[in-house]
Point group: C2
Chain length 675, copies 2
């Protein structure tokens, strides 16, 4: 505990610092999450850029290296770090495999570099450098001692030249080849290595870029009123694939409880034919490892997974760790639940509200270790069926240590497993869950509708340290959330919110078919619950309805697939527009080979127009350059000029425009006979 | 190194978390400097406020404590932390002694509080609470088991009442006395303690609030041209005390080297009668522990310290760890210097510039430990003479580990020792030195002249994490720095800069008598060096010159002593003014008993006026309230009204106004016969 007290005690400190001579400071390393307690996150193929403040006393030249290695590999890979202004240094590497990496920083006073810089200045000033050249020769000779074979020979030759005639010696002293070789054999005796090995968790690309569609399999029957099955759901795959989704998320597929079952519209008393909520898990037929009988068999489910795979769609399963009174756990493991003084099990409550159909698991149970292991076995069971994406229901009502542990455990078996946290709660709780290991997180996107709200929130998510561990997944609607913007904005509101979700977020999802069919009737004014919510009844959706947004969605998702800039969030910037109802933002690849600019009319009722202001220099455009923008939703092309350009957005026809910026346009010089 | 890899391994993690049931998270503790690597700083009598993000899963009530103790004391003192918005908690204690403290945070899910909140809601909703009351009784009985004597009896009585008739039971369940007692015996089995004991270094009040005057003793002789002595300097004390200074800082008082001695105006070749720079330390008569013969004896120096003490003035000594070629160290310890290939010792250089009169010490020397110990003995030597304040010259050109070590070592002997870092270098280097233990630091204040510059810089210094370890000491001039603002702004510029330094900074200093006499002639255009700089020659100052600012300075320093708000920097705020040439800011005590508002005309050439906008609510004023401001420089009083008030500042008479805000003014209600 008291390691701090060492700071002020003589002998210990002197002993500790065998490096009294180690003069370099490395601090403020980024990314470093909670002092290294948590891992930063990247996906395979992403660059990992690390920065640090590095400096020493005085004015000596420094060298710095970013060190990294994959877990289980011994020995660091070293990357040269480059100095930025204000004592900041930066290095970068690309991660190529799923798993855990470590990284740290090493730096030292580089005596040869210091010598070389001084030599250059003295030579420029016409000073006598005879002694300097001798000093340099000594440094090179010392390096030669460390080298072998050819390198040793070369260094010896360099040293000899430094001791020879002045002009040759000066030329060699400033020679790049010698500098490179001296860097290789740089004297690191007093190098400082940052005191922590920081962790980086690398997940597959889908953790970063994914397009989700939520569907209730029981509503997939072709005949209205009939209970849909996995087989029906399978038939829905071409429809879903045509819209361009690559994750199909199913609400819980387990047996639904009967005690205190909720009726239509969340009625306290269900009728005999009410199907109940899929989140009320468990009855006498089984719990979290069983399948609701009316959906089909485990084999049917496996068929669905296999069939989806052919459409490049992955099945995401809902992990909702809660039980109905009928769940087998209740009888088999009453010790996993909290008891009331009368011996009955405590149902969920948020006083004065009671949820008697739900028994929460007690993470303070004496038998918490058995509970943890059982819950882990649930996830592993579905992992064995081939599920690799888990959408976790209300993780913020289960103990944090459990999530860190179970996600780590599951990844031991399935390193490619992904977890989406459905925590609509306070920001710090949401961020903590992300740190604990969730690959993606739901966000407040649904309630960010105005330009200042969207700008502030997405700047926070993508341009701060959050971006190193919190990956947003944007949902304009869910079975629980029909926002007032959607309720009152008509079809244009659905188009606007779709484009915002799909363009602001490299990962987004919709709850269909409610979304593409623009279902917007709430249970009552002021409520965000759907009227006749699919949570409590079987729905039959008219997928071929003429108002469906399915083609529009397909177009938007095609644009996402075709444009690499849209597959990341770290590259988001907002651009000024002189109209508060129009929001404009851009994403671009680091090499500027793919630049997308999006303008969205946030007003679903009126046509809005305005001048957007592009940061031309950041986009690789000259200030007065003429360039082409290709509007990808309509396939229209415009010539834009310089920073300020005009947009006009009619909510009924095109509430949003997605521009692919093409800096190069053909001109007279392009004709071969121009010269 | 690889402790991070434990995160994802089953058994270790399960073992580690005997706290699988510990559900609380404590993160983002402030202050916490570089992950706890460095101590936060406070002075005796200051409040120490600690904040942390504290939350758990779910909606249970939490309890949190700030724990602290002084080094050497076993057992924590506990302070209740209070919840703020957004999962932030805060606790505060006052430090009363010089030395090191530790602090940390503990929190837990408070089952009784959770129960009590639920009970209140259920009672409000008219629900049956019979089982709840039984649960509550069980919690109280469990607490009684932990208590003894009277407490145990009381708790048993409470428990009995909770099991009795409903209305009495509910009343007791919500009773404050029971709540307080249950807090005392709160069930902390699964409490979480923050993983670090953070360190707090407490220094004496002068580290926070000090008023410095720099003088060259050799210029204190009453006869022009004569070499002044400590005795002459002693005669200057009444003059310095009358101006209100409490630290008298002397440039180095050691023997001055003769080799390569600099002449007047830094001439490369000195005349025989040139006195040299006090920073060129060491000759055959001695080095850093000796006194320059012409200044007097060690006894004279001790007399000066004693005489100063009578005026409440402390002597600050200059620690300039560098040697002339004549310094005894050069012959006795050549191994502490770097050698050139010809065996000569390397003089200081910043190519192409050479400083042949200075040999830097080599902190990469093989004998670095002996060097460190010798340098420490220098500081301790002067400590033995009674010096407790050390102004360290160019600490950024000596190894960082040395400073951390030597400051700790000196404080072992003299816990009241203070160190001022004179590092005019890059910001991160300056901040690092402060973290390593320097009590105060020079700043960029001299070059911050415009309103945006001052606002940005002092907001950074006082309103960010910097304020926990970096204490600014503001100098409008030094023997090295005669800014262009002072060169061209005449006497008003000196007044303006004095008020800014004295009001923005709880610690500030001037180099006199150059400052109070408005000496403003630079050696050449574009230079910040004084013409005929006192660094290289003896000066004779006409202290009774009619233009002297001594009375003005005395008034300003009196205001600082009389107003507690001005004795701290953490309480600084800037207020808007509709004139870019006027800056307005305020400082106030936390209890609002002392509120100071300062308005300064930054334009030394023209009268400027404008409307300042006060944050009336923060100052405890009603929005439309009339209140009195007492202008402390002129003793004028004004009635101000509401947020916006007018100021006019004539640089020739009063370039600044310092208002003491008195919220209460007498009105008709104050007459006893009003009623």
């Amino acid at each position: 505990m008291e390691k701090k007290s060492e700071l002020h005690t003589t002998s210990k400190h002197l002993a500790r610092s065998g490096q009294g001579r180690s003069r370099v400071v490395i601090e403020n390393v980024k990314p470093e999450i909670d002092c290294g307690r948590f891992a930063a996150k990247r996906t395979v193929g992403e660059p990992m850029t690390v920065e640090a403040d590095i400096f020493a006393d005085g004015h000596d030249a420094l060298s710095a290296r970013l060190l990294y290695r994959k877990e289980g590999i011994s020995g660091w890979t070293e990357i040269l770090m480059q100095p930025l202004p204000n004592d900041r240094w930066r290095g970068s590497f690309e991660v190529t495999e799923i798993g855990d990496y470590y990284y740290t920083v090493q730096a030292w006073v580089d005596r040869f570099q210091s010598w070389r810089q001084a030599l250059a200045k003295k030579v420029d000033a016409g000073q006598d450098v005879a002694l300097d050249l001798t000093s340099g020769a000594m440094l090179v000779e010392a390096a030669a001692e460390q080298a072998a074979d050819k390198d040793q020979e070369s260094l010896k030759r360099f040293a000899a030249t430094l001791k020879g005639n002045r002009s040759a010696a000066v030329r060699i002293g400033l020679d790049e080849e010698l500098a490179a070789m001296m860097e290789k054999y740089s004297d690191r005796r007093w190098a400082v290595t940052y005191e922590k090995n920081l962790q980086l968790t690398v997940e597959r690309a889908k953790a970063r870029f994914s397009t989700w569609y939520e569907v209730f399999p029981r509503s997939c029957a072709s005949t209205p009123g009939q209970h849909g099955t996995f087989r029906d759901c399978q038939k829905r795959l071409p429809y879903i694939a045509a819209m361009g989704f690559d994750v199909l998320y199913l609400p819980p597929i387990h047996p639904i409880g009967e005690s205190y079952r909720k009726g239509k519209n969340n009625a306290l008393d269900a009728n005999a034919d009410d199907v109940g909520s899929p989140w009320a898990i468990g009855n006498k037929e089984g719990g979290h490892k069983a399948i609701h009988r009316q959906l089909g068999t485990l084999a049917d489910f496996q068929d669905l997974i296999a069939a989806a795979r052919k459409f490049d769609i992955e099945i995401a399963l809902d992990i909702a760790f809660q039980c109905t009174p009928d769940h087998p756990y209740v009888a088999e493991h009453p010790e996993w639940f909290r008891k009331r003084p009368d011996g009955s099990i405590q149902y969920a409550e948020n006083p004065p509200k009671k949820y008697q159909d739900i028994y929460p698991l007690d993470f303070e149970s004496e038998r918490w270790e058995e509970l943890w292991n059982e819950l882990k076995s649930v996830i592993l069971f579905w992992g064995e069926q081939g599920v690799r994406i888990f959408r976790v229901d209300n993780p913020h009502t289960k103990a944090f240590p459990f999530w860190e542990w179970v996600i780590g455990e599951v990844k031991q078996h399935h390193p490619d497993a992904l977890f989406l946290a459905e925590a609509f709660t306070r920001p710090k709780v949401m961020y903590r869950l992300a740190k604990l290991g969730f690959s993606q997180s739901y966000t407040y996107f649904a309630w960010r509708n105005t330009k200042p709200e969207l700008t502030q929130y997405f700047t926070e998510l993508t341009q701060t340290d959050l971006s190193d561990f919190f990956r947003a997944n944007l949902w304009p609607n869910t079975p629980d959330i029909l926002t007032e913007y959607l309720q009152f904005g008509g079809r244009p509101a659905f188009m606007t919110r779709l484009v915002l979700a799909a363009m602001l977020g490299a990962s987004y999802g919709i709850y269909g078919a409610a979304f593409e069919l623009c279902e917007n009737v709430a249970r009552e004014p002021g409520s965000e619950e759907y009227l006749n919510s699919e949570k409590y009844e079987i729905k039959h959706w008219d997928l071929e309805s003429p108002g469906s947004l399915k083609d529009f969605i397909a177009r938007v998702n095609r644009i996402r697939r075709d444009n690499r800039a849209l597959q990341s969030d770290r590259n988001l910037s907002f651009y000024p527009v002189d109209n508060p109802e129009i929001i404009c933002f851009g994403k671009r690849t680091e090499d500027l080979n793919n630049i997308i600019v999006v303008a969205v009319n946030l007003d679903p009722h009126h046509t809005q127009s305005g001048w957007v202001e592009l940061p031309t220099e950041d986009l690789g455009l000259a200030p007065q350059q003429t360039f082409q923008v290709h509007e990808l939703l309509t396939d229209a092309r415009y010539l834009w000029h310089g920073k300020r350009n005009y947009v006009q957005l009619d909510p009924n026809s095109a509430p949003a425009q997605i521009f692919h910026v093409r800096p190069r346009i053909r001109r007279e010089q392009d004709f071969d006979y121009f010269m």
